[in-house]
Symmetry: C2
Subunit: 148 residues, 2 copies
C-alpha cells in the first residue's frame, strides 16, 4: 500500500521548519507534531531571536500542539524533529506522554541519551529518518559560521 503521509513525509515538514531557522541565522533544527495525519504544532529553533534557551524547536511545537488540542497530553501524537532532542526537550516529551518520537540526525554530544535522560516508557522511538538531509543542513550552517 502506498502511504503518502509516512514518517518521511512529516520529517520533510520538520526539515522545512529547520530551513526557516537557518534563514533566521539560528542553529537549523525544526519540529512538527502530528495527530491523526495532521500537523497540529510546528516549531523551529528560536533561541537567539528570543534570547531564551527554552525556545527549542520541540518545545515550541509541543506548546503549539497542546494549545491546539486544549490539553497538555499528546498521547496520540507523534513528534518529528530533525535532530535528536536534548535533555530538556526529552524531559518535556516525557511529561506529554507522547506516543511516538521520530528524529533525523543523532546528537552525540548533547542528545538526551548521551545525557542519560529518557523518554516516557509508552513512547515509541524511531531514529534516522532523513538523517543525511538533517545533518547536511546543520553542517552547512556551522561551515557558514566558521567562514564569518
Amino acid at each position: 500500500m502506498i502511504e503518502p503521509f509516512n514518517d518521511e513525509y512529516f520529517m520533510r515538514k520538520a526539515l522545512e521548519e529547520a530551513q526557516l531557522a537557518y534563514e533566521e541565522d539560528e542553529i537549523p533544527v525544526g519540529a512538527v507534531v502530528v495527530s491523526q495525519g495532521k500537523i497540529i504544532g510546528r516549531g523551529h529553533n528560536m533561541t537567539e531571536r528570543l534570547n531564551d534557551v527554552t525556545a527549542h524547536a520541540e518545545m515550541l511545537a509541543i506548546t503549539a500542539a497542546a494549545n491546539y488540542l486544549g490539553g497538555k497530553y499528546l498521547r496520540n501524537c507523534t513528534l518529528y524533529v530533525t535532530l535528536e532532542p536534548c535533555s530538556m526537550c526529552a524531559g518535556a516529551l516525557f511529561w506529554t506522554q507522547i506516543s511516538k518520537v521520530v528524529f533525523g540526525a543523532s546528537d552525540e554530544k548533547r542528545g538526551y541519551r548521551e545525557f542519560g535522560s529518557r523518554l516516557h516508557p509508552k513512547t515509541q522511538l524511531v531514529e534516522g529518518i532523513l538523517r543525511n538531509e538533517s545533518t547536511e543542513l546543520l553542517q552547512q550552517f556551522f561551515r557558514s559560521k566558521r567562514k564569518k
Copy 2:
C-alpha cells in the same frame, strides 16, 4: 556578618510563588532567579492553566530572567526553586550555564537526579533550604485533592 539576602531569604520568595500556584489549584512549586541580590525572574507552576507541560515554575522564571537580561545565559545568577527540578528543567538550566541552583524539597520520583540527568559542570548545587515548608505545602495540596 548578618546577611539579610541569603539563600533562605530568596527561597522564601520562591515559596511565595509556590503559594500563588496553590491558590490557582496548581501543584505548588515556585521559583525565582536572582542576580546581584535582585530578583530578575519569577515563576510558579502553570501547567494546568496553560495546558502546557513546559510551564513549570523554573522554565517561566528562566525565560523571565533572560528577558530581563536581554541574553539567554544566566551565568551570574542563582535559581531558587521549592522542589528539585525535573529532567526538563535541569536540561534548561544546563543550557543557561547558571552559576547556582538552590532547591527546597527533593523529588525522589521525578527529580532530575533520579532521571540520571544533570546540571552544568559550572553550576553549584545547594539543596534542602526550607525543605520542610516546601514539602508541607505540596503535601497539603495533595491531601486537599484526595478529599475532593
